[in-house]
């Protein structure tokens, strides 16, 4: 751990990343950017896992494993999401989330 960098730095970073992700998720219209925002959220969580693991239980690796899991899940999730986006594109010739409103009342 480098000198002068405490846990609060990590936490501030991850919080910033999380809310940037949330903001992007809520405001972007393009599905790909929304997907990127989701990745940001997931990675902020990863940073939290690793940092807190390091500071609370340095002898254990549970946090790291969870981070690994999240990375794996994120990869598969991206695969599925991209597949959905491609098929949406084929159908609508665009990938604006506002136009995907088939499931309303």
């Amino acid at each position: 751990m480098p000198e002068g960098i405490g846990i609060q730095h990590f936490l501030i970073l991850s919080t910033l990343m999380f809310f940037i992700g949330v903001y992007g998720f809520l405001t972007r219209k393009n599905l790909i950017t929304i997907l990127l925002s989701v990745e940001l959220i997931l990675n902020s969580v990863n940073i939290n896992f690793v940092a807190i693991n390091k500071y609370l239980y340095p002898e254990n690796l549970g946090g790291h494993f969870f981070a690994m899991f999240v990375i794996a899940i994120a990869a598969t999730e991206v695969a599925v999401a991209i597949a959905i986006i491609i098929s949406l594109y084929r159908k609508l010739k665009m990938i604006d989330v506002e136009n995907v409103n088939e499931m309303k009342y």
């Binding site: 998720f25 809520l26 309303k104 009342y105």
Partner: protein
């Protein structure tokens, strides 16, 4: 040792026949289902005769008295160690006697119907229901406990309903069947309450225990009283209310005359010979209870019976529908049986009334079934029920004429036909106990002879009616039943009944009491002669008499307005004061509450459905906002 387990077949074979013809009756020619049912009734009749032979002559006696034989019984419903509802078969003198009556009459009716119902659309349905009825009636008389009786009691009510409504296109038949069902159901309400009361105090449903004179049920019969009568008396009166409904005692008799809308053989089987005497049978079954625990209830039985028999006999004199005359005659004769039970004591000679009642039940079943079958034969020939449209039929229908005459003589009590013997025993029993009742019954004997011969002369003699086409004698199958029953009606009186059926099972010898018999026969002959002079030839004198009687005749003709009273009570009082407010409450309060809930739900969902916009980011925003809100709330709560 004796083995009566074959008696199980007697009812069950008819149940299977019912299921079979009921389900598959439409698959083959109607006459085949008729024959199947007739054959199975024949088997059950043969087994009944065999059982009666074994019971009365070989195995039934122990220590000089006929005993109850529990052929078998198993626990069907168990409430606690003492109280359980069993199903099983009980043989004792009266149930074996009833087996004979039911299967004989049922067999005759089955055979008769092969001719009478020929060509009817509902032929196999009719036979299926006849089997159902016979099954339930046999189950009723064979039951081991009062609750099983109740179940079969309802089943006979149901099959009676189905058979009265056989011609369901006729509105009169439909309303008659409903009337029969509702009136008897109403009476059965009392029966059920009576059963529950009785079992609450006696702690058992079982007939063996209930009717054992030394048993707990009678000895501990409770001390609790209500309105001056002991609880057990109330129970027995309520049970008698059920009996009165089934046996058409005043004031619950109104359904029986209307039940004549059913096919005539059904009237012969159900509404003359078997089902309507179920009430008498049940009182006889519980007779030790009535005698030992509640003489008041027995008095109720006697007075209701006496009043009904007089009341119905008077109405019978005025009716012009052949079947209705017979129906009122049935009511009157059942009144006789009730009276006989009501004046009876317990024991051998003291139980004369009990024996007489069962004897009369037996002979009445034979001659009344015969009368109805004769009436059916007449209706079959000329297609009308109105006796004013009949006359001079003796020329066309000699066999029907002779058998009808035999039955009339039997019911009028002319020796040596069967009715004489049984009626004599009843009158003897009554004169020893209660002179007023005896007098009523004595007068009724005369009226009976009069109205039966009024019917006889008007139908078979009287004027030369012109018929559209000459009436023909009925087919052989029908005549066979008539002749068989005529022989039974003529000879049944010679059975030494007191040797077999007595209240405590001990046989005794009964005699003809000339001091009672002679006046009765004289009165019966007087009745017959009156009818002879009035109706043998068509004349104006009956009209003159009815005119001079005026209002009395008219009210008797309208059955003393009992139906109108019922209509008034139901339509004016119950409908207006109870049903209409209840219906209003249902329609306005209950329904509106439900509709209001549904309407509100619908309204709200219409309003909030726009929230379901399909915009993913909107949903996500709401979700996240909610999460933040909850987070802040939790934080606030923790801090504070």
């Amino acid at each position: 040792m004796e083995n009566f387990s074959y008696t199980l077949v007697i009812p069950l074979i008819l149940f299977f026949t019912f299921v079979f013809t009921g389900l598959f009756g439409g698959k083959f020619k109607p006459v085949i289902s008729g024959i199947i049912c007739t054959v199975s009734v024949f088997i059950s009749a043969a087994l009944s005769y065999f059982a009666a032979y074994q019971y009365f002559f070989i195995y039934g006696k122990a220590d000089g008295a006929y005993r109850l034989i529990n052929v078998f019984s198993f626990h069907w419903l168990r409430f606690n160690d003492n109280l359980s509802i069993d199903l099983g078969i009980l043989l004792d003198p009266i149930s074996v006697m009833m087996l004979i009556v039911i299967t004989t009459v049922s067999l005759m009716v089955h055979i008769y119907s092969l001719g009478y119902m020929k060509g009817d659309i509902g032929f196999s349905r009719y036979y299926a229901f006849l089997s159902l009825f016979t099954f339930s009636m046999l189950g009723l008389v064979l039951s081991v406990n009062i609750f099983m009786t109740y179940m079969f009691w309802e089943l006979v009510g149901l099959s009676s309903y189905l058979l009265i409504g056989h011609y369901y296109e006729k509105p009169a038949a439909v309303s008659a069947s409903k009337k029969a069902f509702i009136v008897t159901r109403f009476a059965d309400l009392g029966f059920l309450i009576g059963i529950l009361l009785l079992s609450a105090f006696a702690g058992t449903f079982d007939f063996n225990k209930l009717t054992d004179p030394n048993g707990g049920a009678i000895l501990q019969s409770a001390s609790a009283t209500f309105l001056g009568l002991s609880a057990i008396t109330w129970a027995l009166i309520l049970i008698f209310m059920g009996c009165a409904g089934k046996s058409a005692m005043f004031p619950l008799h109104i359904w029986l005359p209307d039940a004549m809308e059913g096919p005539t053989p059904v009237s012969a089987l159900i509404h003359a010979a078997t089902m309507v005497v179920a009430g008498v049978y049940l009182v006889a079954r519980l007779f030790p209870l009535y005698v030992f625990t509640s003489p008041q209830a027995l008095e109720v039985v006697a007075y209701v019976g006496a009043f009904t028999s007089l009341f119905a006999a008077i109405i019978a004199c005025t009716q012009t529908d052949i079947k209705r005359v017979l129906a009122f005659s049935t009511i009157s004769q059942i009144g006789y049986m009730m009276v006989a039970l009501g004046v009876s004591g317990y024991g051998a000679e003291e139980g004369l009334g009990f024996m007489a009642s069962m004897f009369h039940l037996f002979t009445h079943a034979m001659f009344k079934a015969l009368l109805f079958l004769c009436a059916g034969s007449i209706i079959h020939a000329i297609h009308t029920n109105e006796i004013s449209e009949m006359g001079n039929l003796r020329k066309y229908m000699p066999v029907t004429h002779i058998t009808f005459l035999i039955a009339c003589l039997a019911i009028a009590g002319v020796p040596p036909l069967s009715g004489f013997f049984s009626k004599d025993e009843i009158l003897v029993a009554a004169v020893e106990k209660n002179f007023v009742i005896f007098l009523v019954q004595y007068i009724v004997a005369g009226i009976t002879a009069f109205y039966m011969f009024r019917l006889y002369f008007m139908v078979f003699w009287s004027r030369d009616t012109k018929y559209e086409h000459d009436p023909h004698e009925s087919p052989k199958v029908m005549l066979f039943s008539l002749v068989f029953l005529a022989v039974a009606a003529a000879l049944a009186g010679f059975i030494p009944f007191s040797e077999f059926v007595t209240s405590n099972g001990v046989p005794f010898a009964s005699h003809i009491h000339l001091s009672v018999a002679l006046p009765t026969v004289a009165l019966a002959l007087a009745g017959i002669l009156t009818a002879y002079f009035l109706y043998k030839k068509e004349s104006g004198s009956p009209d003159k008499i009815t005119n001079s009687l005026g209002i009395i005749y008219r009210s008797a003709y309208r059955k003393f307005y009992i139906d109108e009273v019922y209509l008034f009570v139901t339509k004016k009082i119950i409908f207006n004061l109870i049903s209409i407010p209840v219906a209003w409450f249902d329609r306005n309060v209950v329904d509106n509450a439900m509709n209001g809930i549904a309407f509100t739900t619908n309204y709200i969902s219409e309003k909030i459905k726009v929230m379901q916009s399909g915009q993913l980011q909107q949903y996500a925003f709401v979700m996240i906002a909610g999460m933040i809100l909850i987070f802040l709330l939790t934080l606030y709560l923790i801090i504070v």
